[in-house]
């Protein structure tokens, strides 16, 4: 950690012009990969993420199959050109961990027991990274799962909150994440009111933690609207036609 502390918040305005409790504008598009069963593309600030979903399909290699339920497999991978400086294309320790984190965040939303021996594969490729990528990946992956027609208990939304320059802020970007004091990524099923991922990096007091968690959940609800909009963009048209015809 560099000892030089930059001021990241001036008069309640952050480096990218947001207020402390504002999420970055998000663009979600689904059904972008013709060869995947489901897919989505997400832009959040400078984050650019592409997710493809395959399955449920026969598990390969067979010995990994579970006789009782489907197995969800996730791959989180950062492209070499996604960060500055370039990173090695080989999956790092961090990639492996985040793959597991995203899998655990998505699993409670799926009816895995309906597809014994099968596998559901989620591939998330980070094309450009700008902080909170695990959250953006979870958001993108859950839209892609819906696009694949896989039954789900609820959408999974994720958002981070944290502490920067002593203030609790929502949806950290790369600089805030690196130079801030704490980062708290949260994944949440909004309609069931259940948290499926909660991590913390840094130091927060009990009171700051409570505030951050509350703020992150607020952020999740905002991002949920983006998700719904994306699905409506692809599928909602059919509803409009329906109502026009009935008139």
């Amino acid at each position: 950690m560099s000892p030089t502390k930059r001021k990241l918040i001036v008069d309640g305005v952050r480096l990218d012009g947001r207020k402390v409790d504002e999420v970055r504008p998000m663009k979600i598009e689904c059904g972008v990969l013709p060869n995947a069963n489901g897919s989505s593309y997400v832009e959040q600030g400078r984050n650019k993420i592409l997710v493809g979903v395959f399955g449920p399909r026969e598990m390969h290699p067979k010995h990994l199959a579970d006789l009782r339920k489907a197995v969800l497999r996730c791959r989180y991978h950062m492209a070499p050109f996604s960060t500055d400086p370039r990173r090695s294309p080989a999956p790092s320790r961090r990639d492996t961990e985040l793959s597991m984190v995203i899998r655990n965040a998505l699993e409670p939303a799926l009816f895995l027991e309906r597809y014994p021996r099968a596998s559901i594969d989620v591939f998330a490729e980070i094309l450009e990274a700008d902080g909170s990528t695990r959250c953006a990946c979870t958001v993108a992956a859950s839209v892609a799962l819906v696009d694949a027609g896989i039954p789900m208990r609820d959408l999974v939304v994720a958002c981070s909150a944290g502490k920067v320059n002593g203030e609790i802020v929502l949806d950290l970007n790369d600089i805030e994440d690196k130079e801030g004091e704490a980062d708290l990524p949260v994944a949440y099923m909004p309609k069931l009111g259940k948290v499926t991922l909660l991590q913390m990096d840094g130091v927060l007091t009990q009171e700051e933690f409570d505030r951050s968690l509350k703020l992150a959940l607020e952020g999740c609800k905002k991002i949920y609207e983006f998700q719904k909009e994306a699905l409506k963009m692809k599928y909602g048209k059919q509803e409009e036609k329906e109502s026009v015809e009935q008139d």
Binding site: F111, P116, V146, A148, R153, Y235, K241, E245
Partner: protein, 231 residues
């Protein structure tokens, strides 16, 4: 008992569709007295049942359905086929031959690796593995034609009430159409033009499924396109 959406309103997974004493139908589940959606689609409230007409669904095989799949493995006593479901499907020789099986018969000469087959799901194993049969009219190896894909949940729309839609298309275009419930459709005709037309029609049905009066509109569309071709 309370409806929380308009009938035929757009819902996403997780949306609470109803509370109280209603039955949970297709693409929904019940939790703590509330009925939630499991897929994107249009909610339908009818006579005490809440269901969702899925706009996107993966294929789940059911007994009696016709499917189109490719042979991915040849065993000693049968074949393994990929029907794009949650697991691979099995086809035993006795379900593929209408004569007694003799050991000197070579399985690959009946269906070989990579062959496309039209088959019927005759049973589901304990773990949901489908067993297929190719005995019956119009079943067996695919020898020609064009393949079109559609979301499996929209196949009923393509068939129509008692086959009204597909029969109309067959009558108007003179094409042979084999519909796999797994979302693979085989179109076969001597006239290339007509095949092209059917592919267009299928795409139109895919994007306009769940609208009312679709059969009539498709009929108009085919007539119009045929007129254009004549000119």
């Amino acid at each position: 008992m309370s409806q929380l959406f308009e009938n035929r309103g757009f819902v996403v997974p997780g949306d609470v569709l109803a509370e109280g004493n209603l039955r949970s139908g297709e693409n929904t589940y019940r939790l703590h007295g509330k009925i939630h959606a499991t897929r994107v689609g249009l909610v339908e409230y009818s006579r005490g049942v809440v269901s969702v007409i899925a706009l996107e669904a993966n294929y789940e095989p059911r007994i009696g359905e016709i499917v189109i799949g490719s042979v991915v493995d040849v065993d000693l006593s049968g074949w393994v086929a990929n029907i794009e479901g949650p697991s691979l499907a099995l086809l035993n020789v006795v379900d593929a031959l209408d004569e007694p099986f003799k050991p000197e018969m070579a399985l690959p000469s009946i269906f070989d690796l990579g062959d496309l087959i039209v088959a019927k799901v005759v049973s589901l194993g304990r773990d949901g593995t489908p067993k297929l049969s190719t005995l019956g009219s119009n079943l067996g190896r695919v020898v020609g034609g064009r393949l079109v894909r559609m979301t499996p949940s929209k196949i009923p729309r393509l068939i129509g009430k008692k086959g009204s839609m597909v029969n109309m298309i067959i009558k108007e275009t003179g094409c042979q159409i084999v519909i796999g419930q797994n979302g693979i459709i085989l179109v076969n005709s001597k006239e290339r033009d007509m095949e092209d037309l059917v592919v267009q029609v299928l795409q139109k049905i895919e994007s306009e499924a769940h609208t009312t009066g679709l059969t009539n509109r498709i009929y108009e569309f085919i007539r119009e396109m045929k007129e254009k071709r004549k000119r």
